[in-house]
Each structure stands twice: as C-alpha cells, then as structure tokens.
Assembly symmetry: D2
Homo-oligomer: 341 residues x 4
C-alpha cells in the first residue's frame, strides 16, 4: 500500500480522485486537503462516498510525507505550491493547467498570466499514456492534460503519427458543466446552464495550445458547453494527405490503439452508438475514438469522447500511477460505464 494525498479534494476532480483512490486496492488515502472545508467530513461534500470513508478534510500543513500527491487545486494555485509538494512526496501529479505547456511564452499567451515556476515547466511529463507511456514509467512529475485536449489529441494522433493528414485541423469541443468546477458562478446556475449550447471559447481556448503541442500541428479549437454534467466530445475536421484512403485511416486507428487498455475504436456502419459518445462513458476511464472519411473531398472527421473527470482528469492520473508503480494499468479503473443512463 502506498500513501497518497489529494490537494483540492473538495472540487470535482478532487472528489473523483478520492472515489478512485479509496477504491484502489494498493492505495491508502492519508490526506484530503481542502482550504474551504478543513475538519469537515469528506462525504458531506461528496455524498457518493457515504459509507465508503470517514475521512475529514485537512489543511496542507496537516500532510506528512507521502508517496504521491495529486494537485487538483484551481489553476494557478499549483504552480505556487508545487515546490512545497515536491519536498513532501515522491510523485507529484498535477491536474491543473499550470504545467501543461512547456513553453513559457505560449503559456503566458494562453493563460494571460506569468508563470510562477517556469524553471519546472520542462520537468513535467505529459500524462497521456498513449503518447508518453515509456517516459511515464519513471516520471516523478506529471501534468495531466486538459479534458478537451486529451480527446482532441487521441482523436487525431494515429493519423498525425503516420503523416496521413495535413498539419492543420479544426477542433470542435463540447463539454458538460462539471468542467467548470464546484465553485462556478452565475453562468453555471442550473436555470442558466440547463439546455445550453454555449460557445464559451470560439477561439483561443487553453486546450488548443496543448493539442498543438502534442500533435505538432496548427490546431484551432472552438469550445461549446452543452447539456450534460460529465462528458467531453471533441470533433476534428482535417484534410487527408493526397492518396490516403479510408482503409489507410482505419488501419492507422486499429494499429495505434490495438493494445491500449483505455482507448476503443468506435466507427460502425450502424447502431445508435456507432460513433463515440460520452453518455455511455460516465464514470469509466475509456476514451472512445472514431472517424468518418469523405474520400472524394479528401477530408475526414474524427471524433473522441470521454468522461472529463475520468480519462479527462482523475482516471488518467490513476492510470499513470498504475503505470509508474508497475501495477496492472486498469487497477481500480475497471468500471465500464452504464447503459442506459
């Protein structure tokens, strides 16, 4: 059993980390840090954990040395606290945006703020097992990518890796409301947010920079809030290299993801769920990936779906932990999702 702490444990990503880590057979959760609710019961904030834990929230100062610490604080808090946590834990897994980009200038353009620890930017390994698994096996500093970025990257990576598409693409990302966090403002009131199709970032969303970084292409992303609590779907519009046909595309996806425990290729001829959809992924760590080719026009549409709190956050972080510790990659992550739901 390793000892882990979750910082920012009262938030939605924090809660999901607690759910996974409390249920993980090799992990002992020794601290749930919340600056808002120290001393309160964890299951008061996360009622799904009733009868699963008697843990109380604590402050950062209460945390003793541990094996791994997960940072699920608001953006900008991680980069100021990170040195503190590096001194306390062997692995630091950051789930905020603070260490997702490795270029200070790009960071400042997209985040509109100076970076508080630029010297560490290059030390964090991106927490995308499908692209960086070998580095992750030995990584002690990991930055889990943004939910819409993970989906966008996995949607197009097999084609980029094989140079089958032009190096420019449009990404249309849709997200549920939980991505805004547990302390969101009036735009997230139920009466305002319910039934939304809200283009909150037509251009310049931060996850766009991550897609560009990991795929090495020019990515333009539009982000829309749709009616859902959990769930992200990213559509990618791209242009095929001349001569690339449907079967080359299919082969690329099959090859790339054949052995991935948490990526499924979903591109069927028929059926209600013939393309990836987050609805059936709630609580699961899968990212489903599909595609459709218009050979005549030389274009393709690729589609990825995931649960933003799981493969787009906490689940991905636990998958890294499993990799890092040499445990089975799906340990504690085997919930398959529900249907219908």
């Amino acid at each position: 059993m390793i000892r882990v702490a979750v910082v920012g444990a009262a938030g939605y990503i924090g809660g999901e980390l607690l759910r996974l880590l409390i249920g993980h057979p090799e992990v002992d959760v020794v601290a749930a840090v919340s600056s808002r609710f120290p001393g309160k019961r964890v299951d008061g904030v996360h009622p799904n954990l009733r009868s699963a834990t008697d843990l109380l929230f604590c402050t950062a100062d209460d945390v003793e040395d541990c094996d791994a610490v997960f940072l699920a604080t608001p953006h900008r808090a991680a980069m100021t606290q990170v040195e503190h946590w590096i001194g306390r834990a062997k692995q630091v897994i950051d789930l905020t945006g603070d260490f997702r980009l490795d270029d200070t200038e790009v960071f400042e353009r997209y985040y509109g703020t100076e970076h508080a620890a630029p010297h560490l930017l290059g030390d964090f390994v991106p927490g995308i097992p499908e692209l960086y698994r070998e580095s992750l096996r030995t990584a002690d500093l990991v930055s889990v990518p943004g939910c819409m970025a993970v989906a966008g990257v996995l949607a197009l990576y097999p084609l980029v890796a094989r140079d089958l598409v032009e190096p420019e693409a449009q990404f249309d990302a849709r997200t549920g409301s939980s991505g805004s966090g547990a302390t969101a403002g009036e735009a997230n009131l139920h009466a305002e947010r319910s039934g939304a199709m809200r283009v909150f970032a037509p251009t310049g969303h931060r996850h766009e920079a991550e897609i560009s970084r990991h795929l090495g292409i020019r990515a333009a992303m539009t982000a829309t809030g749709v009616e859902a609590v959990r769930g992200v779907q990213t559509i990618c519009h791209a242009r095929l290299r001349p001569g690339v046909d449907k079967s080359a595309v299919r082969r690329a996806y099959r090859e790339q993801y054949r052995d991935e425990p948490f990526v499924r290729v979903v591109a069927h001829q028929r059926g209600t769920f013939r393309y990836p959809e987050p609805k059936i992924l709630l609580g699961s760590n899968f990212c489903d990936v599909g595609f459709a080719v218009d050979e005549e026009a030389g274009r393709l549409v690729t589609i990825a779906a995931l649960d933003n709190l799981m493969k787009g956050g906490a689940g991905n972080a636990v998958q890294f932990l499993n990799i890092r510790m040499g445990w089975p990659e799906n340990l504690g992550l085997s919930f398959p999702g529900l249907h219908p739901v």
Copy 2:
C-alpha cells in the same frame, strides 16, 4: 396606456413581468428597478428581450409616479419598501411572500422572521382570480400567491367549495430550478441541480400555509426540486366524503372552471398528456387541473400544473391587472405554450 414599474426587475419573476408588460398593448413600462444593475441594459440580463426593448435598469429613486408597480424583489424586501411604493402608484402588486398570509403569527412561524408591516397584512387581496375575482376588480393592493400554492389551491378548490372532501390533505409539490431565483447558491449549480429529485422541504414549506388559508383545510405539503427550469406540479392526496362518486367529482371541476380563461380541466382516459404537466405550459398562463378517483377506497388524487414564472407569478399578476383595468382577461397572455419542448 398605463404607466407601470417593475421592482426587482433583474430577477426571474422580474424578467417575466418585463416580457409580458413590454408586449402588452395597453401598458407602458416606465421603469425597471434593479439595485444590482442600475444603468445596465435590461436585455443584457434578459437576453430574450433583445430587439424588444432598449430599457436600462434604474434605481428606486429614479421612479416617478406611475399607475401600477410590481414588486418582484427578494422576500422581506417588499414589506420594508411597500409604504414607499403605495405613495407612488395606484396599484401595488406584490409577488414576494411578504403579504401572502393574513395572520401575523402564522407568518412568523413559516417565515421565521417578524413582519415589518403587520398592519397592512389584511389589506392585500390574494391574487387568485379563480377565488377572489370580485374583490380583485377594485383591489389596489394585491399579493400574488406562491407558485406551488396556486397549483395546490386550484387542484382541490372545486371539491372543497362543494364540501366533497375531508378537510385534510397531503400535497406533493415538484418544482423547477427557476423558483430559486437568479442569485441562488451552490445547490443550484448545474452540476449539482441537474437531474435532481431533491426533497428540499419535506414539511413546513411556506406555501403550505397559503394552501391552508385559501382552502380552509389542514394541508401538509412536501416540496421536491425536479429536473426542469420552469414548471410546477402539485399532486394532492385527499379523502372523499362518504357517498361522493367519480361523477360528482368530475361535475365539480367542470362547473367550477367552465368559464375560467386560464384553468383547463385535463383528465382523459388516454393520451400521453392525459393529466396536467408543466412541460407544455412553458410561457403560458394556464393552470391545468386533473383528478383520478379510487371510488372503492374513497380516495382521490388531484393534479395541477403551471409555469411557476407565469400562472405561478408574473402571468397571474398581469391577469390581475387586466381584471382591475377592465381589459380582456387574456390581454397580453395569449401564448399557448409549445409542443414538443
């Protein structure tokens, strides 16, 4: 054209009043009072009014004399401001809870606060046209009842008025999230409120006292928030007086509501919408009322549905204005609702 002002115009009831009054052919909206947004455009807060109005929010001090003022402030603000508005307008229509009860002691029990203007409690005529139309024709002070109370009262009134039921009943009220207002807290975040079946008042809800008052029976009400933005449905479980059969019940409803412009009796043998349901009433001023009798057990279930911001608030207030002014009762209130929606 009469000149009207809306106080608390940035709230949800306030916005609905503005929508109705701006579209009303005999009304000129001269002021939209908001303490939060003075000087801002009304359609910035109520985007459905874009191109319908160029009105700006103003402060209470900006309002000159007018014919009618509608108070849609938070509860407790109305009772402290009411004398001010009585000095400014011929009619004062209060849509808060402050003047819904005529008994100070009952008020204090249900509202947990002292009343700031107890001497006026008896002067407000309840804004339920179906029960108090004659008084409303000449009323200058009107208190529009609570949304779940209107539904509960209209659901059972025909039977109570004819002494067909025992003087005690259970009311099960379900409500959408807009009833909590535009400044609600974390429990109303979309991620928390979405898909809710939330018993927020198992006993002791304020609207219970109104039902008891208007029906003259012992009412016990349970209130549950369900997934909807607009819409209230109140179910009533009651016991028939001995010997009362189904046809007597049906006759009572038909007779009572035959000439009511905004109550429809909905109790069919078949069809998806055979009982009242708020979904098809969004934006309309109807209260649909239905019933089902278990003759053998001597029990009945009655059901009422309405849009809480319309017949449960702003629409009811405008219906009163039409009555008071001698205009057609449905003037400016003719939107029938949508299907599907």
Copy 3:
C-alpha cells in the same frame, strides 16, 4: 382572412404551423390533414392547443380549395403529392426536403432516391427571406430550407456576399431531438437520446448541399444530436481573405442584418449569452448570428442559433406568408422567447 390547410398536421412541424396559423389574425385554418389520425381532435396530439381549437384532423380528400397549403409530410411524400396540391391552392409551401435542391443529380446523391417531380425543382423559390425576399413577394411555390441549413447560411452569408472569406468552410451543426419527428425510432427513445452527443452524420448530411447551394461555396457539414428537444446551432469555421480584419467582419454583419426583423447580431464582449444560443429562442422566430475573429491566424468562427421548428421550419414558412400577402413580416410571429427556460 385567407383559408389555409396544413398537410402532415400531426407531426412536429405540422403542429407548430397549426399553433402559429391558429393564432394568426389574418388566417383561417380550414384543414389539418393527417393520414394517421383522421377524425381525431387536433389537441389530442398537440396538447398545447387545448382550448385554442376544436379542429379535427381530416384526410387529403376532405380538403377543398384554399388559398395556401403547407406541406409538412415526411420527406418523399411531398414530391408525389405536390401536383395535387398545386391544383388546390394558390400557394404551396413545402417544408420537406423534396424541393430544397434545384439540381436533380445533387438531389439524388444526397437523398439516395430518384426525384418524383424533377420538372418542378426549379420552380420552387427557397424560403429564406434574408436572401430571396424579392422573389418571395410573388412566389407561389416555396421550399422552406432545412433547419441546420438556414442557420449555416445565415451564419456566413454576410461574409460570402462581400467576398470576405475563402469559398470553403466547415459547418458543425448541433440539433435537438424534435428534428427527428414524432414517429422516430428506438434511437430517439428518451433513455437512449437523453444526454446524447451523437454524431449522426459526420459527413454527407443533406443540409450540407443546401448550404453549398445558397452560399456558392464548398461546405462540409457535421451534424450532432445534443440534449435538447428544440434548438439548432450551427458553427462555421472559415478562413478570411487576406487583409480582412475584425472590423470589416463586424461591419458586414451589421449592414446585412440591420433591417432584418428576425436576425439579430449577437457578439458581445461579456455576458452568459454573448454568443447565439437556441435556449432563449424556443418558440421564437429569431435566428441569432454571431462571430469571433482570430486575426493573427486569419480564421473566423461564426455561430447561428434558432428554434428548428420556428425559423428552421414553421416560423420561416409563416414569415414567407406574411411577405407574400404584404402583411407586416412579424404578424403572428412576435413571441420573443423565454428566459430562463
């Protein structure tokens, strides 16, 4: 008063036509044709019309000559019946897909069927007032375009008309479930469709051909069903011509739509509803249009939202009728939409 008939009156577009036409001060609805429910009450199928009409559904044979007939049948039924209706009515307004394209070959490619009346294809004027108002003033055969196509066309037209964008664009259309009609199959069961983000047409959707036709560009459209009953939003990703800046784009939209009664330009710096969103348009005939420019990348995103049964169907058809008859263009179409909802 003119006499009108609605064919396919038990469907969702048919029901919306009935709601609008029954409420229209210059129109008498003389027939509601339904092959499924002849002899049944209209308000049994469309419960929002209770107390608004006592009309019964009838068969096509029951319809005598009338001034205008609206065809809201399933696709493919209109083209086989159209000659019959041309013999019965001065104006025939088709709301199906049958006469939306003017090129037989394109029709057959997108619809996968032969056209039953190809000689009439060129006679139907497209029912988009914003592009074809002058022709519509005298048109007797009109084809109302697809809901996602209307949104896509209005989203980009001001820029295409001024040659400010490259002649190629990607359209990302999202739609509610009512677009699938009242007789849809298992994929539209609530348990399956609720919370969907369902890419049902990654490429090759029929509305794509309409966008290409009306804009004269190469359009690639992806269609996704999202959680909503009513509502369409179409996002367009396009590339600016060299040298075109933000202010030229803004000017184009303002100029183009300044005098349009049912198009609003919505592109604000802040506010929850700063870009177009269908939620606040339910039941209204507005199409809101917005845009965001990335000057550095030379790209832009445009956004249009509407209610698919209104501006995307029945409302657009009534707007044509008003134009054709010389009535105020918003007669019977003045409902502004709700907020919140």
Copy 4:
C-alpha cells in the same frame, strides 16, 4: 465459478445484469438470451460492454443446464416460461412482475390478466434481503420486487416493524424513463418524455400491491415519470401512532439498517444532499432512506431513493445471488455512484 444465463438480455434490466455478472469474480455468463437479436453481439445493444465481452445473444433453446437463470423478459413472458427454466437451472431469479404477488386475486386485479402458473405463486421468495434474508439463504425461486415498491417498502419498514405508524400511508413515487424498457412507444420519445412530470398512474399502480403485501398496511401509490433515465424516489406520507416522537423514529431507522450493506440512512440537518436522491446512486446498489417528522401534526414523511436498474432490479438480484451462494454480500456490487453526474 458458477454458470449463469440471462433471459431477456437485450432489455435494460438484462443489460444491467450482464454488466454486473460479467464483472462478477465468481460468475461465468454462459448465455444471453434475446428473442429479438439472436446471433448479434451483446455489445451492439449494450455499448458500455464493448471490450468487456464478445458474447453473442442466443435463443432459449441454445441454453444448456446452468446454475442460475435470471428472467428479465417482459411481464407475462416469465410465468409461461418459468417451468422450462426451473428444469434447467438450480436457481431461477425472476425480475418481472409475474411472481411478485402471492394472491391470485390481487394479481389479477392489478395486472388485468389471469396468472399462467398460479400454483407457483407461493413458492417464490420475495427478493428483498432487508426483509427476507434468512429465507433467501436457501431459496431457489426468487421474485425481485418492483423498483418503486422496493423504495416504498424500505422507506417505511422500520416504523411498521415497530408499530410506530398508523397502518395506512400514501406513496408518491417518481421514476426515470428506463423503467419503461427498451421497446417503449411514442410517449417515451425523447421529445415527448424530456422534462416530463407525468402522472402515469395516479391510482392502482402494480407496485402499490407489493407495498401493501410486504408492509401489511393499506398503501395508496401515485406514480410520476420525471426527467431522468435512471432513478426512483418514493416519498411516503404517514401518520405516527400517538406519542411517537422524532427520536423514536430516528432510532428505528438506525437500528433497522445499521448492518445493512446497501441501505444508508440519510437525514441530515443541512447540505444539498441531506435527503435521499437517486442522482448520486446511478450504477450503485444503495437504497438511501431518510425521514422528516412533524411532531406537532403527528405526521411524518419518509423518503427512499435508488437506481431502478440496480437496487430496483439487477443489483438486488445479484445481492440475492451473493447471499444464496454465501459470498460477501457486496461482491461485484461495490461501485459507489458518482458525484457530480
């Protein structure tokens, strides 16, 4: 490993059984019977099971002897097939309504049909571990109760068992759309069902008879469909015996459910989720139970919530299997539910 078969495996309860049983460490699913889809892949119908199984649906004739068979067919199919399955399996667990009542006359009144195997009615043990655990340890024929009935029974049982309430109560049950099954008709189209508050059974619902049976009181139940896919909540309005106070009520619940693995008492002073709510129970086997007492009026309201496909169906069935086999009662049932969702 025991060998089990699921009959009616393409339905929603059937799919949930497959999800649980495929993930159960002591169970081997040897057959998934579907008369609609023989030969098709199970994960085509239940897409959440992709990568979890390669099973194909088969016909009843394909099933060889096995240890346990779960009947999740439509109502009325089970009673005609049951003798066949008794010949094939040691345990037969029926999840339909066919064996939920032990009195032929009551069955025929509530189900409106003759019973096809009345001689077996008394042989089925009700699958409510909290009431019948000892009998279930050796039972070979089990009837899993209706979802709203389980909630209603568990909501009031502690008080009935201690004679703290009058023997008569009203139950107000609310349910998601998945309870109508995977082949439901037009009333369950998304456009019709979305946002519903649909009183589909004001009186006489079948689950009412089960509540009466298990509690031994006169139960009157009203059933309403609300906006949700999964989830049942049953509210109970009852009258306390004279002299019973709040602390006696609390003590009854605590005592009764202290050692129950799947019943949690949820009745807090504050917090968004202070009473039971199905939202946080999706996919979990918990039934949360709460209460609120109005001592002055001598009344109380009790509340139970569960996932209708889990504790209201498949989960309850697997809990029985664990009891019958002597395995830990929560084996394969440990998913805690999600928050937010």
